[in-house]
Amino acid sequence: MQKGYFGKFGGMFVPELLMPPLLEIEEAMNTIVPSEAFQAEFHSILEDYVGRPSALYRCPNLSKKLGFDLWLKREDLNHTGAHKINNAIGQGLLCRHMGKSVLLAETGAGMHGVATATAAAMLNLECVVYMGATDVVRQSHNVRRMNLLGATVVPIDSGTQTLKDAINAALRRWIADQRTTHYCFGTAAGPHPFPTLVREFQSVISREAKAQMLKKAGRLPDYVVACVGGGSNAIGAFNEFIPHEEVKLIGVEAAGTGEPGCHHSAPLNLGTAGVLHGAMSMLLQTPEGQIEPSHSIAPGLDYPGVGPEHAGLQDCGRAHYGTINDTQAYNAFHTLCRSEGIIPALESSHAVAWVLENAASIPKGSQVLVCLSGRGDKDLGIIEEYEKNKKI
């Protein structure tokens, strides 16, 4: 297979000026990351600082109601409240090993920005976070967190002023500052080697979950379900199960309001193949190849593209991708709060919702593993506004 490709998806569609730093990261990924010293340091930070291994929890009340075992991989219990920290720590360490002093990141909702700012503070690196101006206003709480952690947050007021424009701006900054700066890409998308590098650091999710399932359930899960925006928690949750053909892998995209003609964030289900942010993948685009705006109630899923490995897994039939709309995700959010005493992120609520909505077709006695990628405290403002608008 061509380097950096997953079937026909992936690649390095970037200006030549970015090829040297990308090839430098590729080299570091192949030499530094597998080294014993790097792995030892990475895993000791994950254990002592992030709080890994994260719990695997069988939901007693929902399992009883549904007639199958619902297991949650509790990435929400990580330091900073989501899976994003796994990747930020890994790339922060790599940045230091490569002799660079600045971590540059893009962020949409702010979770990857907070994770990167946290890793940078802990590893004594400078941190610059690019964030769409609209998101800076919507997620002001996370902007304050990043500032407290010592990061510089740069609001981007070009284009749609959201995540995709923050990525454009971060790529531009990286062209100029590549000698001192490592671009800590937040999801399993973008040009090679980012999809592979991010998968490498997020795969700790499925490594742990596989061992925990074998120990607690005595067997592998029948389903692994995860939400997909760019797709980093999903690829992390899938990776170790990919060779086990009997495990069904389900990615869940955000269908937005679900009304015909409305914006959504489901390129695998409703998009077409094209090139954005350095990779060939599935995209929301016009027939002329212009990128279309996305929408989801979950800010972390609100992105018009998706990681190329997911497009490849869909294409070869190994993984399947469903959709959940805003209302279904909102309902699942409340169900998990009330039934299990867990407030999930709205992103992760999409994965929970897929299970609840498809419960009738899941055989009784199944083992269903959901990646609970983050906690929902950050979403209380969105929930409040949603209820006000819907007069709930």
């Binding site: 380097k3 690649g11 390095m12 569609f13 970037v14 200006p15 030549e16 000026l17 090829m19 040297p20 070009s158 284009g159 995709k164 424009d165 454009n168 790529l171 531009r172 062209i175 100029a176 590549q178 094209g274 090139v275 954005l276 942010h277 350095g278 995209l283 685009q285 027939p287 002329e288 190849g289 212009q290 990128i291």
Partner: protein
């Protein structure tokens, strides 16, 4: 021989650098764009680079990005550009190239693109997000159409990669003068001079210098190391100030030169 190489060599033979202005298609609006293009041609542009607007132009600075987004809003798209150029085929003395990001070209269809560029009198494509590793499908589809895929290299391109680009170079090689995006700079980095000495002998096509350039005196230190100059953001600013493309060219092509 490539039309683009010809145009640059002809300017050099006349004792000057070839001048390559860049204008986004549909700027300042869909009608006036054609007037400005005609004015650039009449004022002696050797090659004109026509920007194909894209929603996410990662290699561009704020001036080109803003112009590009305005053009999109006004309905400028690749099929409009190629249709209108085909209607005017033969009207321009200058060589024509399209500068645009890969996705709109890809969605148009690479085979169809080759045919329609040839029919529209377009002699080259500059695709800033298509490095060596990904260029094969485009170069294969365009082979035999007379449309060159122009390669871009820069200050950080190692010599091994330069050699690979040099093997495939057609038309001219575009040297990016800064580690950065498009947009006017007060001065160009000092390291450009030394890098040009390394790049120049590897290529047997002419070399154009672009990014950051606003005034002729910025490029005079480079002497014979460069054969052509690309100017973009400075022209957009000039037109935004209410002045015409023709008067912009006076700085670059003094009468009679």
């Amino acid at each position: 021989m490539s039309i683009l190489t010809d145009r640059i060599r002809a300017a050099n033979a006349a004792g000057r650098k070839a001048v390559i202005p860049y204008l986004p298609a549909g700027f300042p609006d869909r009608e006036r764009f054609w007037d400005e293009l005609t004015a650039l041609d009449a004022a002696g542009a050797d090659i004109i680079e026509i920007g194909v607007p894209f929603s996410d132009p990662v290699a561009d600075g704020p001036v080109v990005e803003q112009a590009s987004l305005e053009c999109l809003e006004k309905g400028a798209c690749l099929s409009w550009i190629l249709t209108e150029l085909a209607r005017r085929k033969g009207d321009f003395k200058a060589g024509l190239v399209l500068m645009g990001y890969y996705n709109p070209f890809l969605q148009y269809g690479l085979e169809r693109l080759g045919r329609d560029c040839a029919a529209a009198g377009v002699s080259g494509l500059i695709i800033p997000d298509l490095p060596l590793e990904e260029a094969q499908p485009a170069t294969a589809a365009l082979t035999g159409t007379g449309v060159d895929v122009i390669c871009l290299v820069g200050l950080n391109t190692p010599v091994e990669r330069l050699k690979l680009y040099a093997e495939k170079a057609r038309g001219f090689v575009y040297f990016v003068s800064v580690l950065g995006t498009t947009g006017v700079r007060e001065s160009l980095p000092e390291e450009v001079l030394a890098k040009l000495d390394e790049v120049r002998p590897l290529f047997n096509v002419p070399l154009a210098l672009g990014f950051g350039i606003a005034r002729p005196e910025q490029v005079s230190p480079f002497g014979d190391r460069i054969d052509a100059v690309v100017i973009g953001s400075a022209l957009i600013k000039h037109i935004r100030e209410g002045k015409g493309a023709g008067s912009f060219m006076e700085d670059w092509r003094p009468a009679g030169k």
